[in-house]
């Protein structure tokens, strides 16, 4: 393979890692800071992807939308839309233990998947929405142009990721973050201190959902199309969970590291199994899913705090 092919592949890998890192940071706000179990990440991701696609794509006769708005408005709308969908779910489920939230979010993701698959006036059904604008896409054609386009998109993803990281890190250090940890670690004590637990949890749930929606929008514009098949409901949710748990829940740098490690290993294993003859390749694909499920169990058993544990020293300084 020529260097330019390798560089294009690596830049693509880096873009996807960046997108997953944004989603993992969103899950970190929900799970790492607040202890909320979201098992429907794929749903919020899809809402963001479709929301942005409908607003920014060119007009189409077969479905509504095609407003041709600039890409950044689509991304902001994706965040708002995902947060709006999170609101009623959180409102109903956050009074109870997170088990109920887990089931309800599975349900939301399932319904969003059904809507994406069947409402052709909104989402284009199986055909999806194609020809999405991608910033700096260039005219394409030559390998060099493809690489340049990837590098430009990578720069955008990195800028978004840094902005999200700085914002979430500021949240974590702020009194808000401390209060979230207090609620997570001792709900009764936090309640006794007069904290409005349901409201704070709802805020965290919506912020996290917004970031998942943003990740979905980035994903859709990177691929330049979105179909129901491009988001596997279970895998998209699960792979983000393993990224966060392996990286270190509660630690924002851990979430980003987890995204990089898990996605690199996942892509490398895909590269390996693609070398197999076809009759084994399909089985190998599902075997990889088995291994990632097993990996979660091993992390939970042998390194539950993840690669970069939550910074306990800082917590002690806070407490003083």
């Amino acid at each position: 393979m020529e260097w330019i092919g390798v560089a294009t592949y690596v830049s693509q890998l880096a873009i996807v890692v960046g997108i997953y890192a944004v989603v993992a940071l969103g899950l970190n706000v929900q799970w790492g800071f607040t202890g909320l179990f979201n098992a429907g990440i794929a749903g919020f991701f899809a809402v963001g992807a479709y929301g942005s696609a409908i607003l920014t794509s060119a007009a189409s006769a077969t479905r509504i939308g095609g407003f041709g708005l600039p890409v950044w408005t689509g991304w902001i709308a994706a965040m708002v839309l995902a947060a709006v969908i999170a609101w009623p779910i959180g409102k109903i489920c956050l009074r109870f233990r997170s088990d109920y939230l887990a089931i309800a979010t599975i349900g939301v993701a399932e319904i969003i998947r059904l809507v994406a698959r069947s409402e052709s006036w909104l989402t284009g059904a199986a055909a999806g929405i194609a020809n999405l604008p991608r910033p700096f896409a260039g005219r394409g054609g030559s390998p060099q142009a493809a690489l340049n386009s990837n590098l430009a998109f990578l720069a955008i993803v990195i800028a978004v990721l840094v902005a999200v990281y700085v914002a979430i890190e500021a949240l974590r250090r702020a009194p808000w973050g401390r209060m979230m940890r207090a609620i997570r670690d001792n709900e009764i004590a936090a309640r006794a201190m007069g904290k409005n637990i349901e409201r704070r949890r709802l805020e965290a749930f919506m912020v996290g959902a917004a970031l998942m929606g943003l990740g979905g929008a980035l994903f859709a514009h990177f691929n330049r199309f979105i179909t129901p098949e491009s988001i596997d409901p279970m895998m998209a949710t699960f792979i983000v969970w393993i990224m966060l748990i392996l990286g270190g829940s509660g630690n924002n740098r851990g979430a980003i590291l987890g995204a990089a490690v898990v996605w690199t290993i996942w892509s490398a294993s895909e590269f390996l199994t693609n070398q197999l003859p076809l009759e084994y390749a399909i089985q190998a694909k599902y075997l990889r899913v088995f291994v990632i499920g097993l990996a979660l169990q091993l992390v939970l058993r042998f390194r539950p705090e993840g690669l970069l544990p939550e910074q306990a020293a800082e917590l002690r300084r806070d407490a003083r």
Binding site: F96, S98, I103, E110, I111, L114, F238, L287, V289, L296
Partner: protein
């Protein structure tokens, strides 16, 4: 639509589906009640049971009904094994971690089925089964047997919980684990027993779903939502509540197609779930709220 049409197209399928959900929901409610967490691998345990039965049918050349007990035993063993390997060591930590582990187990079980059987829909027997007609009501033999077996299994479980030593121990642990331990209940045995019952019932649910529709690797995962809706509707920890909840969810799903596009059938379970959590989280029969 005549009353007979309503019975044929909505009530009969609703009762069959409801019995299947009830079998699944009992497992969900037992884990909720005794182990105190939401077991997200329950649906995929059902998938595994259904496909184990398919394997037995294919390789031993027996009918599906002979394969059912084997599938129930295998799924019971798998459930106990999953508990020992992946859940037990998390018991001293916040319970929500066990929920995460169960999501991982769900993924593992399903991918094992996909490695072994592929992803194409399959069935136990080939060919269409013509329904019999009784007073204008069309039912298939397998539908009658599904409902009867489901009710039989529920009655057997009810008797086990009410009259046997270990059944009483299970109920004691569900009501108050510390008190049960103090009274000399061996919680390890009760835990294993619970998982055995849960696995066997999940396998039965998967088997009946496969028998009445077809076997798909996602069948169990997609059954998870109605099973939880049924368990919460009936009241968490209540076996008779799960039976009632399962029947209600099944009937509502099958009648919803009158006013909803058929592809949104599974959304009705979600609506029931949210409505119950918003209005009466203890369920119809006053169960627990975690």
């Amino acid at each position: 639509m005549t009353l007979l049409d309503f019975v044929n197209f909505h009530v009969v399928p609703g009762l069959v589906l409801g019995s299947i959900y009830a079998l699944g929901a009992i497992g969900v409610t037992l884990v909720f009640g005794v182990m105190r967490f939401a077991h997200l691998a329950h649906g995929d345990l059902a998938t595994l049971g259904a496909f184990v039965a398919l394997g037995v049918v294919r390789f031993a050349g027996v009918g599906p009904w002979q394969a059912l007990p084997v599938a129930m035993l295998v799924a019971a063993a798998v459930a106990i094994g999953a508990d020992r390997l992946f859940y037990e060591h998390l018991r001293k930590r916040p319970l929500i971690l066990t929920v995460i582990a169960s999501l991982g187990v769900a993924l593992m079980l399903r991918s094992l089925v996909q490695v072994g059987f592929g992803v194409d829909p399959q069935s136990y027997v080939r060919g269409l089964v013509r329904p019999d007609v009784f007073f204008g009501i069309r039912v298939r033999e397998r539908e009658v047997l599904t409902v009867l077996t489901a009710f039989g299994l529920v009655a057997a479980l009810g008797a086990f919980l009410a009259y046997t030593r270990w059944g009483k121990a299970m109920r004691a642990m569900s009501d108050n684990p510390d008190l049960a331990r103090l009274s000399g209940v061996d919680t390890r045995v009760v835990t294993a027993l619970t998982w055995g019952v849960v696995g066997a019932l999940a396998a039965a649910a998967g088997f009946f779903l496969g028998l009445n529709t077809e076997l798909r690797s996602m069948m169990g995962w997609q059954m998870l939502l109605p099973m939880f809706a049924a368990a919460i509707l009936g009241g968490v920890g209540r076996v008779e509540g799960a039976l009632l909840g399962g029947l209600v969810v099944g009937l509502v799903e099958e009648t919803s197609v009158i006013f909803l596009p058929a592809q949104y059938k599974s959304a009705t379970a979600f609506v029931i779930l949210l409505a119950m959590l918003a209005v009466r989280p203890t369920g119809l029969l006053r169960g627990k709220v975690l």
